[in-house]
Structures are given as structure tokens and as C-alpha cells.
């Protein structure tokens, strides 16, 4: 597998788990602590996929998705939300913001990789 994945989460341990999983499969992982940092990073280093948490300080994940979708370079980039939230209302807000999919934590490494491979096709 190849490609650059931007992983966004305010929990360092979650970022580590995502990094282990994705790097093990051959992806390059760049990381951000919140939406603001992710937005800056996304502008300077092109990502092939964005994987973001929802509840983060400074800028939440759904705002990040909306902001990225407004950029020409991220209009068609897959964006997956990885969160503990499973409520239909929040999912709908994610869909409306422009998210490609919704993954509820905890993720299974194999399933996460299969989903990423699918949306990157």
C-alpha cells in the first residue's frame, strides 16, 4: 500500500495506534493534534486520505472536514471520521460536512485497513 494519510486526534495514544496500523501496511502517516494543526499541515503537505477524530480542542473534526472540502486540493480526498460517537445525529452532521465514512472506536486494524483501501481505490 502507498499513500500519505493525515491522522488527526488529540489523544497521543490514539495517534500511536493509528500510526502502528497504517505504517505497518506501508502508508506514510502525518499527524496533527487538532483541527487547526491538521488544516495547516494539510495545506503544506498533500494527504491522500484524512482520518480524523471529532471532539478536539481549537477545531473539531467536523469543522476540519468542512474546511478541507472548501479547498480545491481536498475536494475529492477521502475523509474518514474515527470517533467514539455513534449517534445518528452526529453521523448525519459528518455526512453533511463532507465526510466519506464513519468509524466508531475502537477500530479493528484489519477492518480499518480494508476500509482505507476501499475508499482510496
Amino acid at each position: 500500500m502507498s499513500g500519505v494519510i493525515l491522522a488527526v486526534d488529540d489523544s497521543a495514544s490514539m495517534r500511536q495506534m493509528v500510526r502502528f496500523t497504517l505504517e505497518g501496511a506501508g502508508y506514510k502517516v502525518i499527524q496533527a493534534n487538532d483541527g487547526v494543526e491538521a488544516l495547516e499541515l494539510a495545506k503544506t503537505s498533500g494527504a491522500d486520505l484524512v482520518l480524523t477524530d471529532v471532539n478536539m480542542p481549537r477545531m473539531d473534526g467536523l469543522t476540519l472536514v468542512r474546511e478541507l472540502r472548501a479547498l480545491d486540493s481536498y475536494k475529492y480526498v477521502p475523509m474518514l471520521v474515527l470517533t467514539t460517537e455513534s449517534g445518528q445525529d452526529t453521523k448525519m452532521r459528518g455526512k453533511q460536512a463532507g465526510a466519506t465514512g464513519w468509524i466508531v472506536k475502537p477500530f479493528n486494524p484489519e477492518q480499518l485497513l480494508a476500509t482505507i483501501a476501499r475508499v482510496l481505490q
Binding site: 505497518g24 467514539t84 455513534s86 453521523k91 459528518g94 475502537p106 486494524p109
Partner: protein
């Protein structure tokens, strides 16, 4: 909420007694619970950080072994390579399980954070007698807490407790003590 605890700190027994109100005592007890929880979370965070560091080393070592195995001369790979690959495969499976387990700790921290916030919100609430005597204010407080609980587990507990209170007048503790369902990963939905 710590302000309420602080307010009686260092005061003489007489002064403390003069400032005694049931509401303040309740707020202080809630503050104590929150402080205990915060301390326990901080200790656990340190332990889990150390565990993650160790896990990171294990992952890196396992990947190095895997890479070295691939570099072995063909004749050696044919004899010991299969066994090594099997071992590396077994380690990878264990690591995948560990990745899921570590995420549960993250979820636990988040849920305990919600409980801490609930305790501090309740402590502020009980200090205001006008609020505590108003059913509308209690409903508002309940709605605030309901919005706080975002995981499926939190929502289920909230619903069970509220239904139990409505039907039996008490928190249905027994109903909440269910057998653990085992490790369950979250669902995936593509839009």
C-alpha cells in the same frame, strides 16, 4: 468546584461551622470524588504511556525481525524462514489485539472525563438552593448531562438509569451489572 472546597480550607472549626450548609457539604463531597477520580486518571495515564512506549519498541523490533528475515539467503530462508514467518505472524496478531485494547483505555479516559464533568456540574448546581427546588432546572441539568454522554455505552446506561428511576423510583443497580460482552470493535459506515 474546587473553589467550594477551598472556601473552608484553613478556617477555624467555629468559622467552618458557621459557614455550614448542607449544599456546601454536598458540593465539597462531590469535589472530593472528582479529585480522587482526577488523581487516579493521571496515575493511569502515566502507566499507560509507559506501556505504549514499550509497545512501540516491540512493534519496531518485530518489524525489524520481519525485514531481516526477508534479507536472509534463500537456502537459510527455506530452512528457518517459514518458522520465523510463523512467529512474526503470531506476534502481529497479538499486536492487533493490543491496538484494540489500548483504544479501550482511551475510551475509558473519555468516559471518566464525562463523569468528572457531571460531578462538577452537579456540585455547582446543588450550591444554588433556588435551582435545586425547581423541577425545570433539574430537567435542564439532566439534558446537559444527556448531551455529554456521546458513546453508545454511556447512552445505554443513561437510558437504563432514567427508565429505572421512572419505573421503580431508584437507580436499577442490578440491571446495570451485566456480564461483560467481551471485546467489541466499533462499526464502520461509508456514506
Amino acid at each position: 468546584m474546587s473553589a467550594t472546597v477551598e472556601s473552608t480550607k484553613g478556617a477555624s472549626p467555629a468559622a467552618a461551622a458557621a459557614g455550614f450548609t448542607p449544599e456546601l457539604q454536598m458540593a465539597n463531597m462531590l469535589g472530593l470524588c472528582e479529585a480522587q477520580m482526577e488523581s487516579a486518571i493521571q496515575d493511569s495515564d502515566k502507566a499507560v504511556d509507559a506501556l505504549i512506549q514499550a509497545f512501540t519498541c516491540l512493534v519496531d523490533t518485530s518489524r525489524s525481525v520481519n525485514a531481516l528475515t526477508a534479507q536472509l539467503p534463500v537456502e537459510i530462508r527455506e530452512t528457518v524462514g517459514a518458522g520465523l514467518n510463523q512467529q512474526v505472524e503470531a506476534i502481529s496478531k497479538q499486536m492487533a489485539s493490543a491496538v484494540v485494547a489500548f483504544q479501550f483505555y482511551d475510551k475509558l479516559s473519555q468516559r471518566l472525563g464525562h463523569v468528572r464533568y457531571s460531578l462538577s456540574t452537579l456540585a455547582l448546581f446543588v450550591c444554588d438552593r433556588a435551582q435545586t427546588t425547581s423541577p425545570d432546572q433539574w430537567r435542564r441539568l439532566l439534558n446537559t448531562l444527556r448531551r455529554l454522554y456521546r458513546t453508545e455505552e454511556e447512552r445505554q446506561i443513561f437510558q437504563s438509569v432514567m427508565e429505572g428511576i421512572a419505573e421503580e423510583g431508584t437507580v436499577p443497580i442490578a440491571a446495570l451489572k451485566e456480564e461483560p460482552a467481551g471485546v467489541q470493535v466499533g462499526e464502520i459506515e461509508l456514506f
